[in-house]
Subunit: 397 residues, 2 copies
Amino acid sequence: MLMIPRGFKFSGISCGIKDKGRKDLALIYATHPCVACGMFTQNKFKAYPVLIDIARLKKGEAQVILANSGCANALTGKKGEEDALEISRELSVLLDVKESHLLLASTGVIGERLPVEKINKNLPLLIEQLEEGGIADAAEAIMTTDTFPKIYFIETKIKERGKKSIRVGGIAKGAGMISPQLATMLCFLFTDACIEREALKESLRIAVEHSFNRILVDGDMSTNDTVVALASGLARNPRIKMGSDNFSLFTESLSEVARELAKMIAKDGEGATKLIEIRVNGAWDEKDAHRAARSIARSPLVKTAIYGEDPNWGRILCALGQVKVKFNPHRVTLKIQGIKVFENLAPVINDRQELINKLQEKKILLEVDLRHGDHRTVFWTCDLTEEYVKINAHYHT
Amino acid sequence: MLMIPRGFKFSGISCGIKDKGRKDLALIYATHPCVACGMFTQNKFKAYPVLIDIARLKKGEAQVILANSGCANALTGKKGEEDALEISRELSVLLDVKESHLLLASTGVIGERLPVEKINKNLPLLIEQLEEGGIADAAEAIMTTDTFPKIYFIETKIKERGKKSIRVGGIAKGAGMISPQLATMLCFLFTDACIEREALKESLRIAVEHSFNRILVDGDMSTNDTVVALASGLARNPRIKMGSDNFSLFTESLSEVARELAKMIAKDGEGATKLIEIRVNGAWDEKDAHRAARSIARSPLVKTAIYGEDPNWGRILCALGQVKVKFNPHRVTLKIQGIKVFENLAPVINDRQELINKLQEKKILLEVDLRHGDHRTVFWTCDLTEEYVKINAHYHT
């Protein structure tokens, strides 16, 4: 049994947005209003659910998230906004929850309108099915080209008389249009911790910075990216304040959940066969580390070489050399799967077959040491395969 | 018969760097020392031939270019430099040309050493075959994953008593690792115009800015990118000076040659089936126009949609919205193949079938109007196909 944070119920059903009876509508319901905050796409074209959530989260409270897959409700004009608000009104009445406590999220094709009638007709069933154990259905209902639902939960003891346990968890979807600064991804995080609004916000910022902003599938940034965190307070711990020891503990837990969900998204990139972890060490500053890692993660030539299990290490350095990052080429070293392949501007491969064998593994580790400073980062991506092209050449129709 | 600029001879042979007897060694020989200049990759890891050319072109003169495919001679350590210099010495003796007048270019796999002996053994044959008509062999010998040789020549009358004609032309290779700020591309431009060194340099800068810096296949920037221009002066026109009418005429010709070669590179992107032209109008400044066009050109989701002949226009706007470009989303319009698909933040497609039909063409035009200023740009890329992945997953081995 998952240690679902206290105070949350979930459901997921098919309402007919997607074909073949696949689940496409998810509901997350807190039994009481929660402390809440969110982070959203930086894309200038923001989908209506994103614009609505940004406005509603200004007061830092929320109770319900309704999410659909199969339709992004982005770039759908004034009518797209009306569609979203019509659904929101209906759900508000059915649940007897203030509209301002209700968040929306959509993912799928851009430019097509939501089938409002289908959705509204199915809301009563969706509500009826709400239960603690409904998390798997909800995680499934937000999938698009994802191949597996993404769920992660942990329990942590916080420092307190009697060592109260708090629970933190979440669900996410990813697969395509995945790039740092949030991706085409939805992620809903829940905790039963009792926490101040500003502390939750800062904790989420830190967690996202080290998770969803460190993954990349194709480098495209969606119109719909959404990460929302809800804290029910039902763990009944003394309220966590910014900067306290418990704040650090909570942030570690939230970061772990976010990081594991982010890695699942990278691993489940469209058509991917391998998860690639890129570690950049010895960078002048954090920005340089990030820029270097991202350029390698984004390179189609690196991603196809790894798919082909081809030790074409030159492409990794080529991707590194093309961005503005401070380093001296003579000092750079590169390891693949723990094996040093490059040093002093020249290859140092003793056993090419060993390297080829290690590239057959499902998890690939690339380690660049710039030897130019003390900063480091970790970044995750996946390989690029024919399947990615197939999925995206024919996704719309 | 091509109007080859006066004073140049070419040859291209197979010396065994590539397999199956494919041509891999090209020689470009001017009968006299030329005014010369070059532009090179911005990648921090520069191949040895690039480093050598940069040094040798400081005096603005050159007479010979030796180019090989199948091996990049990049990241090969001190030995890579020695290899290049050994070949250069040998060629210098055989041709009786000063080493400082001899340029080198390599393209192919990174990190592998040049087979110096194979190359040097074949230099006499390469020299023996030099002739004006050898241009096609030379163009073929610099190909890697290119599917066709890239050659373009024009003749222009310049303003002068008797209207002297000058000839401008070039050969290029591209295919993969193609990104603005020069790509994995080699391009050698020749003219028989008589022109001042500084004027040729400025003319080349302008031509490259509007050609090779406006194409993108996969967004990766090579270690070996090279554009070199040689002017033999054998048209015997009065020397062209910076800023004169004839400077403008010459720059137009050089730009046309560069642009047509660049478009051939985009069209022949690895695995490509379509040439995509992206026009951005109404940008606040030139940088914004460039950034917007490049983001669309780079997007794997746009490129796969066009491959799938899928009118998934939302991806184009998504790619536009994710970069820092000044515009108001409400004012943006988008046309595909001349058909307006988006305006006032909403789709305006009347005849979806017409759009689908037009996407079956081989040349695709995307026009974004930001309606935020007076600046514009044109950019070229290609679609992304399963074939790109296949080529790059298995290129090394």
